[in-house]
Symmetry: C2
Subunit: 197 residues, 2 copies
Amino acid sequence: MSESRGPGRRPGRRPGVSDTRGQILTAARTIFAEKGFDKATIRGIARAAGVDPALVHHYFDTKEGVFIAAMRVPFDPAVIVPLLLNGPREEMGERLVRFILTVTADPQAREPVLALIRTAVTNEQAVAMIREFMTDALLGRAAAALGIPMLRMEAAFAQMFGMLMARYILRLEPMASADPEELIALVAPAIQRYVAP
Amino acid sequence: MSESRGPGRRPGRRPGVSDTRGQILTAARTIFAEKGFDKATIRGIARAAGVDPALVHHYFDTKEGVFIAAMRVPFDPAVIVPLLLNGPREEMGERLVRFILTVTADPQAREPVLALIRTAVTNEQAVAMIREFMTDALLGRAAAALGIPMLRMEAAFAQMFGMLMARYILRLEPMASADPEELIALVAPAIQRYVAP
């Protein structure tokens, strides 16, 4: 991910056209995380990105298009599947938990994950879209690559999803401020059992 | 829990006064599950229960009061802590997962859990209330009773919470239609590891 200027920067410094797409996605992550899918608008995203709404439509067509592009980044199967497979099989659980905690440690990278959770929980229409993406692109591909039943992949997902909920949304203590290494030591064996039985 | 008449029943059959409180709670579970905390109203809950809004205020004072009373049922620490402790320690994980899946198998009993999740994810004000309840009354008491660190109790909670999300909110297949016994066999060992190390 390239660095981007926050929407609060002085309007005089305009980014190059080639940055515009990334800038819209950065703004979209913030807006979706704050408002969820339903209440977010193309107009609001454009405003936060400092661009014309027509440009958002040009790059992503619809709000759904922006959402899919914005949410794919941290869960990219093209990143996660090789991450699982490259390295010792007995450390797969640890690699996966470390990856998830590392990605979400950065508040800006965490935003799309929280946006995804908020949307999944509150929006019936979006949940179908998210379920399709999760099942086909992410969990299905990972389960196939590992040669494990889908239910095991989903149990592993449930553990990590619940951990993110407890840490970043419910902010339960001591989970919310726990050192990542302590969490990895605690949770990785459960993931390992699911993904490499 | 006593049986209650659905809001759709003929208005001629009025329940006894002693049922009114239970009837309001049943209606509240439905309304909170459908709308979340923010959009639910005392008036809407009263309407669904077929009672005067003044009666809802009389029993529960505020919307928060209704919510706390309604959400306490399936997560009652007075039920969960003895359940964990009564029986062999090596089957604790299994007892806990079976209890959670049995309670949530009934759509009516599941509603408060889903209401809780929707509210926690979307309402900043309610999340503080839920966090307090979770930490002090539920997880804190369970961790103390088991003599384990709070972080372990929260990891177990995260696993079960994520499982309920995947099964009932995201409705990922095959998790959504999996036989409870298959899920128990898969998930209970992870819970066991957390709560009885």
